[in-house]
């Protein structure tokens, strides 16, 4: 009867699905806080995977380990089959607090990843303009971050991540500082964006609805120490009008089910 595929335990045989990111036995302890314990996960290419779990369960930690921004205590991360332990060009991060340089224009902020790689000014600005337009900010190239709303700032962060043409986009609660109504709009845009480009998204969120609404795959983490407690693949048809999704039976069932599971951890 249930339309979602639920799996427990070890990840599936790698050969079966094409995984771009493979996480094996990752664990991490901060001082005496064990944040993650033995995480094994595969992230399929071209899909959007959400990490969901109660506050403090290690979602950000896991995402940053994948990004190479935090060293794990044990375990490995492989991208396209190659082990990595530092940031690399095949991954790009979108930050919860946007991490925009307040002294730089939108254009320079978006082009910053390319600037660091030494791309020539003309070229990088051309690329940046393209992505600025793609996230719907055409005309705002010469504005400064403080002149933008939260939602627009996060679009700048997204454009910056897109402009370096990484295969994997890592997003840490990108909408948490964006107001409700803008957030909803942004989610719709993200769904569209993902179907149009063959990028892999790894997405951290607190919102069950959001996760179910936009994800191909949801990884539920258990509270400290973070372990994979369940993997859910909401089989929702996202091809049509994104607004229909909110009334989809499978959507509602999945949201409910996850909520029942997480409710116990809420204070």
């Amino acid at each position: 009867m249930r339309a979602t595929a639920l799996r427990n335990g070890p990840s599936p045989v790698p050969a079966r699905i094409d995984s771009i990111v493979e996480v094996r036995g990752i664990s991490k302890t901060y001082g005496n806080v064990e944040a993650l314990r033995g995480i094994d996960l595969d992230f399929p290419r071209g899909k959007l995977t959400s990490l969901l779990g109660p506050s403090g369960c290690g979602k950000t930690t896991l995402l940053k380990i994948i990004a190479g921004l935090i060293k794990a205590d044990g375990g490995t991360v492989a991208i396209n089959g190659k082990r990595v332990s530092a940031p690399g060009p095949e991954r790009a991060f979108v930050f919860q607090d946007f991490a925009l340089m307040p002294w730089a224009t939108v254009l320079r902020n978006v082009a910053f990843g390319l600037e660091l790689r030494g791309t020539s000014r003309a070229e990088r600005e051309e690329i940046a303009r393209r992505y600025i337009a793609e996230v719907g900010l055409a005309g705002f190239e010469d504005k400064y971050p403080h002149e933008l709303s939260g939602g627009m700032r996060q679009r700048v962060g997204l454009a910056r991540a897109l402009s370096v043409d990484a295969d994997v986009l890592l997003l840490d609660e990108p909408f948490s500082a964006v107001d409700e109504q803008n957030r909803r709009k942004f989610q719709e845009d993200l769904i569209r964006l993902r179907t149009n480009r063959n990028k892999t998204f790894i997405f951290v969120t607190h919102s069950i609805e959001e996760a179910v609404y936009i994800s191909d795959r949801i990884v539920l983490l258990s509270p400290r120490p973070g372990r994979v407690s369940r993997i859910i693949e909401p089989e929702i048809d996202r091809s049509g009008d994104p607004e229909r999704i909110h009334r989809d039976r499978h959507y509602l069932d999945t949201v409910d089910e996850i909520w029942q599971g997480l409710k116990q951890y809420v204070e």
Binding site: L69, P87, F93, A99
Partner: protein
Amino acid sequence: MAPSIRTDGEAAGLAPASSRGTTGAWWEEPVVLRLVSIAAFAAIWEVAGRIPVSFAFPTFSDTMVAFFELLADGSLASAYLSTLQPLVLGVVLSAFLGVGLGTICGLWRTGEWLLIPVFIVLQAAPVAAFIPMVTFVYGIGMTAKTLAVIILALPVIVLNTYKAVRNVNQSLLVMCRSFLGTPWQTVAKIILPDASPVIFAGLRLGVAAGFVGVVLAELLITPTGIGDLITFHRSRADYAEMYATIASIIALSTLTLVFLQWVEARVFRPEKRGA
């Protein structure tokens, strides 16, 4: 304890004139209020001078007259020529040295550990007691006075720069790393731009401290410029001239600081950086 280092005068910025709505009574206009405030100050001074509080306390009007006389006969100009040399030299040297040292201490733990406590001590301690000693080593010339300026200005600049570099926005650092920034790129493209408003504020405080230093040098090492004008007129019992000189150095330092603050507000637009 490192990142929590607070420096003297962090709140001592001259508050920028707040912008307000267009409507409002005349007495709500900041310019009007400022003028009223100045007029009240002058009036109190004038009255106190007329009572008089002391024979050595001239009226405001006498002081102003004396000021213009000093200005006209060129003695004020030549005094400032002499006073400003060590000040400018000292402040410029402190600026380069201070920003350099502060940046190093902010980036390099051992440097921080070794140097920052020294500057904290220098900043908190009453180094005025120390200035006469400078004379023993460096005599009474430019060197001694420049050194006095540096002793006062350097700690503020170092500590502000250090604080700015240490407290640089962590998420920007992480961002730069995630986009494969090299250490040099991180310093040049993130740390220094991000720290620059606080560094500049530190330089402004350094200039204020430099003024204190040069005044102390004039009064405690040898009076050559404005210190000489003060002591000369005091020995001649020309108190109006003495007061005019004192008021002029305070006014000059205030104007310099207001100007620097204006530059700061223009260049760094502090109200918009919070973004």
